[in-house]
């Protein structure tokens, strides 16, 4: 649905429809800001990246043949602008994440085999914005090494396809898949630890 809306915004903009400019700017500015904010962690940088990405988009829009590709294209400009901005990383150092570090520890045998895990069934999946869980999630994403964070932000937060993400980040499809899985596992593990602590203090 979002993809459809983005396409419509791009088509209207290219056609020079009245009002299209403001709608496009409002929508993509906050989108690129959100991505850049989670990507580089500095508010001023994120605002500058949003401006630069939109400006580049407008300057080069006539080269885009397919309006479907607008969002991948804008995120690519934003990603490059983020890289240029990068001050000393405020986040986690770059490192490889391995599958083993996220493998749950199983105990018991046969029927009684179980893993240590929080009760996820009561976790709401909506209205995150002002909740502590939302803060924990943003923190867990922020703490991912950058090469994993960039993949998870595009795939799971911005909901780009695997192919689009690979295009934006200049990665192969397989690398996108591998990094996405590990990034999700890392975020899951942090949330699980938080949920278990919560449950222990407020059973």
């Amino acid at each position: 649905m979002e993809q459809q809306r983005e396409k419509e915004l791009a088509v209207a903009l290219l056609a020079g429809e009245p009002g299209a400019f403001d709608r496009f700017v409002e929508y993509f500015r906050s989108k690129v800001f959100g991505y850049s904010w989670l990507m580089c962690g500095h508010r001023e940088d994120a605002e500058e990246v949003a401006q630069e990405a939109l400006l580049k988009a407008f300057e080069n829009f006539d080269q885009i043949r397919d309006p479907e590709r607008v969002r991948a294209w804008i995120f690519r400009v934003a990603k490059n602008a983020c890289l240029m901005k990068r001050r000393k990383s405020v986040f986690a150092p770059e490192r490889e994440l391995s599958l083993e570090e996220f493998l749950p520890i199983a105990e018991g045998e046969g029927e009684h085999r179980h893993i240590e895990i929080a009760d996820w069934s009561k976790v709401p999946d909506k209205e995150l914005l002002n909740s502590e869980l939302g803060d924990r999630l943003r923190q867990a994403i922020a703490e991912l090494p950058e090469s994993y964070r960039s993949v998870l932000l595009l795939r799971d937060v911005e909901e780009l396809s695997t192919e689009e993400t690979a295009q934006v980040l200049d990665l192969t499809i397989d690398v996108v898949k591998t990094r996405l899985h590990r990034a999700r596992l890392a975020v899951r593990q942090k949330l699980d630890a938080y949920l278990r602590r919560e449950h222990a203090t407020h059973p």
């Binding site: 401006q51 749950p104 199983a106 996820w120 999946d125 898949k177 899985h181």
Partner: protein, 88 residues
Amino acid sequence: MPHTPENCKEVFAMLSQYLDLELPSDDCQAIEEHLAGCAPCMEFLESLKKTVKLCHECQPSTVPAPLTPEARRELEGAWKKMLERRGG
């Protein structure tokens, strides 16, 4: 896939692709058979699925400051130029 810790590890490695419907149907079926008989893997999968859902809902905790008139003019100028090039 039978239910042994080794198979759990194999399943574990493919869970994201399973959730994203990116697996060939053979692998998909093998995983489903395993999940049906393995509560720990099933429970883990549910938590991973929820994590992905939460990411879909993730918003930055702040919004950008309003666009300044200068910044808006800069963008509008570039847009109009692009339209002229396109039209001409």
